[in-house]
Amino acid sequence: MCGIVGLLVKTPSLRERLGELMIPMMIGMTERGPDSAGLAVFTAPLEGERRKLSIDAGNDAGGDHYDWQALSASLDAALHCDACVEAKGNHGILAFDAPVGKVGAWLKEHAPALQVFSAGRSIDLYKDTGTPAEVAERYGFSHFSGTHLVGHTRMATESAVTPDRAHPFTAGEDFCLVHNGSLSNPNGIRRMLAPQGIRFDTDNDTEAATRFLEWRLREGDELETALQRGFEVLDGFYTFLMGTPTELALIRDPFACKPAVVAETDDYVAIASEFRSLAHLPGVKNAHVFEPAPAEMYVWKA
């Protein structure tokens, strides 16, 4: 199992309510994914070379009481990068004027217990173990604003139940993916990507798919081309929902083993594993509700 939710608001006035509208969607997927939950939200991009990381302090490194301000100050002292941090629960969104790789290396050396979950100009990412309601409460999902988001509720089958194995997974900058299903060739994908210098944070099958697709995008593929290659390379069951700063994209394996339903109105596009999660959206009674076809690409622009 596992549950997928995605929401893209077309009406600018709804951006303030993005998280609030998403909450019943995620709660509706509790039975499909009771062990972990996560959310990636795409906000207005940072200016110029400024980047941000979503970082998990976990429970070992101090959790909710982690001293993010001290971290930010040390980073600033070391790299002079105008660092600032916003903490939510045991996660911190650390923004700075420096290359992501340089800050990542500094963190690895000076704060090795921290885990970086996402990087980019636009993406904020929160994920943890617990029921969707608990995780949503922990990070205040209902207050989130933005143009679009990608969420997930997990029932683990392929790797352990830990925060870093929860979805969404990310690779590179501003790209995330959530998965309902299981891949049969993640180790083959890892072996294929390893010579490209691509490293993996976990043993999770979804991470392999995420890094494969992000690698194709980085190599210059358009999203559609990358997804087409995905159909050829990724073997197994999947409904994938992906987010970039400007798009949401959905694909289902050719056997449509895992469900997906879309509801579209003039105000929003909402995607979920089941209609249960769409039932409480405003105006859904008059929405165009449809089931995405297998082996087709669906891309919605923010």
Partner: protein
């Protein structure tokens, strides 16, 4: 005629299904309206009474599964496995249906006005399924008896490993599965099709616009040339 209304935002689905199982059979001709289905699973599953049930909205997995005698109407779409293993009665989906609609159904009539997903009528065992739109790949896979009527198109591998059962398709068939072949439509086939079209609300559709597919019967019959394999 007695009628009763349930709103699933006010009452638990389990209570409604228990009512349909335990109280409804004593009330022949009962008419039941279920509001706010909101994609819940197994709505009106396991009915065994000559009653009318209307689901006003979108249903989740296994709606009206294992139906016997009841007439269930879904004024919305249906999730995977609608009317799976139906024994008798009828189920009418006014919107689209997801995967495995009418799977293993042994009797009764399943009508889907919109499209049906993959594996529609998989392992069909005697029921009739009429789809107003198109069906996805692997439909009527290993079907054993009954009829599948498709007014639109069919996906890949239609009727793969078919035992028996008739498949009528009006539109294009992307590909036929192993051991499925087009057959000439005889008078008996045509009569069955005409009756099903009428009962599914498609009396205006010309039965001669359909092609009939069935089993070539080479997979499941013993062939003496294969004796060495045993």
């Amino acid at each position: 005629m007695e009628s009763v209304k349930f709103d699933l935002e006010q009452i638990a689905l389990r209570m409604v299904n228990q009512y349909l199982h335990q109280e409804a059979p004593a009330k022949e001709g009962l008419s039941v309206l279920i509001e706010s289905p909101n994609g819940a699973h197994a709505i009106a599953a396991g009915l065994d009474a000559p009653i009318d049930v209307v689901i006003e909205g979108h249903a989740g997995y296994y709606a009206a599964g294992m139906n016997q005698q009841a007439k269930v109407t879904i004024n919305g779409s249906a999730g995977p496995g609608v009317a799976e293993n139906m024994m008798s009665g009828s189920v009418h989906v006014k919107g689209f249906a997801s995967n495995a609609a009418g799977a293993t159904a042994q009797g009764g009539l399943l009508v889907i006005d919109g499209d049906a997903g993959l594996r529609c009528a998989i392992s069909l065992k005697g029921a009739d399924v009429v789809v107003g739109g198109s069906v996805g790949s692997f439909s009527a896979f290993m079907a054993q008896a009954g009829n599948l009527v498709v007014l639109g198109d069919a996906g890949e591998a239609l009727g793969d490993s078919l035992y028996e059962a008739r498949i009528f398709v009006r539109g294009a068939v992307k590909s036929l599965g192993s051991d499925c072949e087009q057959k000439p439509m005889g008078e008996e086939d045509r009569t069955i099709l005409l009756d099903l079209l009428a009962r599914a609300g498609h009396a205006d559709v010309d039965p001669d616009s359909f092609r009939l597919y069935g089993s070539a019967r080479t997979l499941y019959n013993f062939h003496v040339d294969n004796a060495g394999a045993y």
